[in-house]
Subunit: 337 residues, 2 copies
DNA sequence: ATGAAAGCGCTAACAG
DNA sequence: CTGTTAGCGCTTTCAT
């Protein structure tokens, strides 16, 4: 006859204390003698006891869990989520663990699977949403639902008080100054700049700022069309090179676009980095193996995870909204002379 | 004065039914009139009521949650988890959602953070573990802990009854036959084959089988050393090319090794794919942007996720252990003449 | 520093 | 088909 679940009462009996003492001892309450605590811990270990999270959560009202939603492109499966968002997801889970939180993760891309009310359902204490800005339906649904509890957002195509972002402007300045240092004079910007792409707009701002500061011509942003950024980058580069007075370097609004650009450049026979420079943004792992390897601006992922998570773990402290970035030298810009 | 949480009693009162009817109606019990159900649903919506998962879980004993642990390399952060495991993680979360399960995910790489007893703690109904086989400490810890509840495993360096794997042998046959079709005669195998690498051993088996079948010479597996597979692949290829009678094509045990090999090959000036063929295994996204793009064997990720998850959702049905694979033609093998 | 008692909000067994 | 009732196992007052 199999005994039912070991409860804190069983441990209490074995340790010769009350059930509430067991609870306190195992929860690390300071008002428990070290001696009592170790007796309780020994009894718990002997019986193979584990606090039942279901009961603890019901009673305390907290869940110790963070809901993390990764928004993908409409109609696509999680396999095709960008490496950037995977890295950010990983860092966010790690940051949550640092705060003693678990991570409930959901990949959502299509209407019908959108769900944000994890807090209302008692599944989590807060919500982190990250993903591609191109999925308007998802972001609109998030806006319309107005989930309760603390929320932190990365990648939304709108400005509100909940976002966390990379230092996009500063990163763009780094990128462009690197190209300038390599001797490039006509530097183009690859990326759509409009209200739907606030991150790209910030990067364009930094691009402009750096060029103006150095007295170099500022190009119009060359819009990339389509949700497939790589393909978009490929096509945009073709358009750019076909125009009169083409650039001799480009700063791409992100690595996916830059990777597409690199491909197209390779096909036209442009010599990168000897004659043509390329810098991306995001720190994509795929850029390590591209030809040539992609020089890029990488946000500090660990800090990004912490910034997102701290809005939920520490809702009362002033939130960090900007995450520092750094230049990763790989091989798509020639060495500084 | 803020009212406390809306409960099923409030909904019951508003709908003029008993509390248990509310519970049944919202849980989709078939023994509820459609008329009653819609009245309850209307009341619930009007009050903004959501079933409290904490209470439901305590009472029912189930959690509707799957714990997914991603094992990384010792001392590394989640940012450096392989793209393969990210894709598998995504597919597993998606498969869990298909079964109506939530996914609690944890990245673990170092002793001190290992935790497998999610079921004992009432956090999940089962456990999926995936990750790199090189982290012996983690896998040993898993073995030693023997967590309760259903468990499914991908990537462990040992054989037991819980693993799920790709059709490694069949995939290797596909890879090697593709190289043979391209006219290659001396095909090498890049990867360590020993008890710690059961997946590589299976791939070597398929490699051997295909070559024997076609009457071609079977090479010894060329061990790759170090946990960084890319670097290992780079070095192994150098060794292979330095040996007498070097191969004119290689099948790498996985894409990371193949990517390293491609790099080293490029540096030595070998012309891939015109004179030298390379095929990898895993379907890594980074292989899309390598030079040349990497031809590879890709497991069906969606099926992999389902196979893992079904061990937890449907513990009574005969589990699927093998996941089908397919050849992804990219560009590292020349066209069939 | 510890014990006694209450009750979190729900599901499920049992009636009717 | 619906109502009544009894807990699930814990955390947290309130005592002592």
């Amino acid at each position: 006859m199999r005994r039912s679940r070991v409860t804190s009462f069983d441990v209490a009996e074995a340790a010769g204390v009350s059930q509430s003492t067991v609870s306190r001892a195992l929860a690390g309450s300071p008002s428990i003698t070290e001696e009592t605590r170790s007796r309780v811990e020994a009894a718990a270990a002997a019986l193979g006891y584990h606090v039942d999270a279901r009961a603890a959560r019901l009673r305390s009202g907290r869940t110790g869990t963070m809901a993390i939603v990764v928004v993908g492109r409409a109609g696509s499966d999680p396999t095709r989520v960008s490496g950037f968002h995977y890295a950010l997801l990983g860092s966010t889970c790690a940051a949550a663990a640092e705060c003693g939180y678990q991570s409930l993760v959901a990949f959502q891309s299509d209407p019908g699977e959108f769900a944000w009310n994890y807090v209302a359902q008692g599944q989590a204490d807060g919500l982190v949403v990250m993903g591609t800005s191109v999925n308007r339906a998802a972001w609109n649904d998030l806006l319309a639902t107005a989930p309760q509890g603390p929320v932190a957002v990365w990648g939304a195509p709108f400005d509100d008080e909940r976002w966390v972002r990379a230092e996009n402007r500063e990163g763009a300045v780094l990128a462009v100054e690197r190209l300038i240092a390599a001797g490039h004079k006509r530097i183009g910007f690859l990326g759509t700049v409009d209200a739907e792409h606030p991150q790209f707009a910030e990067r364009y701002e930094g691009y402009r700022e750096a060029l103006v500061r150095h007295g170099l011509p500022v190009g119009e942003p060359l819009a990339v069309v389509g949700d497939d950024r790589v393909a978009a980058g490929r096509e945009a580069v073709a358009a750019m090179l076909g125009a009169p007075d083409p650039p001799d370097a480009i700063f791409a609004a992100n690595d996916a676009i830059a990777l597409g650009a690199l491909e197209a450049l390779g096909r036209t026979g442009a010599r990168v980095p000897e004659e043509f420079g390329v810098v991306g943004f995001d720190g994509l792992a795929a850029g390590v193996h591209s030809h040539p390897p992609l020089t890029t601006i990488e946000p500090d992922f660990a800090e990004a995870g912490r910034a997102l998570v701290s809005r939920i773990c520490y809702p009362d402290v002033e939130p960090t909204r900007r995450v520092p970035v750094r230049l990763i030298e790989r091989g798509s810009v020639r060495p500084v002379r």
